[in-house]
Amino acid sequence: MQQAATLPLGTPMGARPRRGARASSLGDTIFRVACHAAGGFVLLLLGSIIIALFIGGLPAFQAFGIGFLWSTEWDPVTEVFGAGVSIYGTIVTAVLAILLAVPVAFGVAFYLTELSPAWLRRPIGTAVELLAAVPSIIYGMWGFFMIAPLMSQYVQPAAIDSLGELPGIGALFQGPPFGTGIFTAALILAIMILPFIAATMRDVFEQVPPVFKESAYGLGATTWEVMKGVVLPYTRISVAGGIMLGLGRALGETMAVTFVIGNANRISTSLFGPGNTIASVVALEFGESETDSLKLAALLALGFILFVLSFIVLAISRWLLRARLKG
């Protein structure tokens, strides 16, 4: 390899110019075409995913019309299907997960960029990144065997007894403490997306020009005032992008949610009630649906809806993060 790299140096430029030029231009053409083709392949891939899901779901869209989006019916026996409950569950768990994860992620990023001693920065940063690497099925098992029992024994009874009595919001905290349910799913999701949001926040906080922070410190601002008055205003668009990225992840997460959400096709007012999400319905019901059945079409239609949802969220996230991506 070394030799090949240095070959042009040793070759007299005028020796066999035409042959060499033709060989290199042929090599160039092949390589350029291969690179362009690979780029086109990625486009084709995304395009075919959208089309395949849409075509697969078409029978369901035709059978139930636009009402498929909000119908809460899901009855395999009478073959009536609606996406209402799972769309509701998907959005509620994802938004709740964001609400739980963002403050913690912000705290982690604040600590890592401003407060942590230099020698601790890398170990803690790595630990947070490892949290992101743990496969989602592990989160599911951990949530099902460790968190759900904790929830049903301690957290939920306490919340039901105290908050459940309150007028208005009390309805959110009522019902039997199953352990699994919407809230537990949101909690597990929050833990899963926490490292993604924290890592994005840390990266954008680090991009604030030091001179901005130094001027604020020079005026006598405290660390918190620098964060609140300089770093956050400077990075708020990218921070929003990081949050959207987390939301995109939470929407499509499958295995962890399937373990802990309770898997019931109903919308309950209580956060502790069971529910489902698009991804969990698809994962669970797929095995029981026959080829060419309306149920399979309904599941593929759900997949299409999920794709559209996450596409929108991820596109917004990328748009918000564009400043950071340009670097």
Binding site: L43, A127, L219, T291
Partner: protein
């Protein structure tokens, strides 16, 4: 910015007021610091709790049979051998197929498509694929390879994992190639080398440790993927290396065993969960140390 800081920084005439203001600002700062520390602690506690649970439950269930026996009906002391082998086959094949494609796309983005509209679209699409729900990729491959070819197969699983690893390799390849200074490229071209030699022999070589890091992270990601395999390679309770038939995999076996009512199956699921987490975390640590030593 300045408006936020002004009230706190405006000089107070009365020393008592100034002192009170100072104390209040100090207190706010202290509270923020403590909350931030608590948040970091929460994050670390979760990681520690997951690892502790895995080690406690996983090591308890770990014995030689896990590695020497195939999956068996409950109560007959089975292992995970076929699942481990199936996972290895699918992950290795997906990596071998996906890496060159991903590297070419990343190279296209970094070396050919700077500022081009088509390049921006490819970059956007690749980033969408990077974060797209993996279960949808499973559904897509089901439509593409399972339905037309009459059944679940190892190849379908490989295809799904390939689609997942490609955008990961694309992202790191482009990022790493973008770090290479243009003077290096100009020097090579100035020597009369064709562009493809510049890319393959100089740019790729300069970026190789970063690209390998990306590949390792990609392997770590697809090794734990469960959802896309549900509809593609499906799983298999027997020993199978035939890629045209349903193929077992570790994540799928963990999924079906963890949800079963049999105690010995649940224990096997924990053993598998420990194995897969250790593999994924080791790959991550390896990738990170490689990147640091490469710099």
């Amino acid at each position: 910015m300045s408006t936020t800081l002004q009230p706190a920084l405006a000089p107070a005439k009365d020393p008592a007021v100034a002192a009170r203001l100072g104390r209040r600002r100090k207190r706010a700062d202290g509270i923020a610091r403590i909350l931030s520390l608590v948040a970091t602690g929460i994050g670390l506690v979760f990681l520690a709790s997951i690892l502790a649970t895995l080690f406690y439950k996983g090591f308890g269930a770990m014995d030689l049979a896990v590695f020497t026996e195939v999956t068996k009906p409950p109560g007959s002391n089975g292992g995970l051998l076929n699942a481990i082998a199936g996972s290895l086959i699918q992950v290795v094949l997906a990596t071998v197929i996906g890496t060159p494609i991903g590297m070419l796309v990343g190279t296209y983005l970094a070396e050919y498509a700077k500022g081009s509209a088509f390049g921006n679209v490819v970059r956007f699409v690749s980033d969408i694929l990077l974060s797209a729900p993996s279960i949808l990729i499973g559904l897509f491959v089901y439509q593409l390879l399972v339905l037309p070819f009459g059944g679940f197969s190892g190849w379908a699983g490989v295809a799904a994992l390939t689609i997942i690893i490609i955008p990961i390799v694309v992202r790191t390849t482009e990022d790493m190639l973008s770090l290479i200074p243009n003077t290096l490229r100009e020097a090579v071209i100035g020597l009369g080398a064709p562009k493809w030699k510049m890319i393959v022999l100089v740019c790729w070589r300069a970026a190789i440790s970063g690209i390998i890091t990306g590949i390792l992270l990609g392997v770590a990601r697809i090794a734990g993927e469960t959802a896309p395999l549900l509809f593609t390679s499906l799983g298999n309770n027997a020993w199978s290396t035939d890629l045209t038939r349903p193929m077992p995999s570790l994540p799928i076996t963990i999924y079906s065993y963890a949800g079963s009512p049999f105690q010995d199956w649940i224990e096997l699921a924990w053993a598998g969960a420990l194995l897969i987490t250790l593999a994924v975390l080791l790959l991550n640590i390896l990738a990170r140390s490689l990147l640091r030593s490469g710099k």
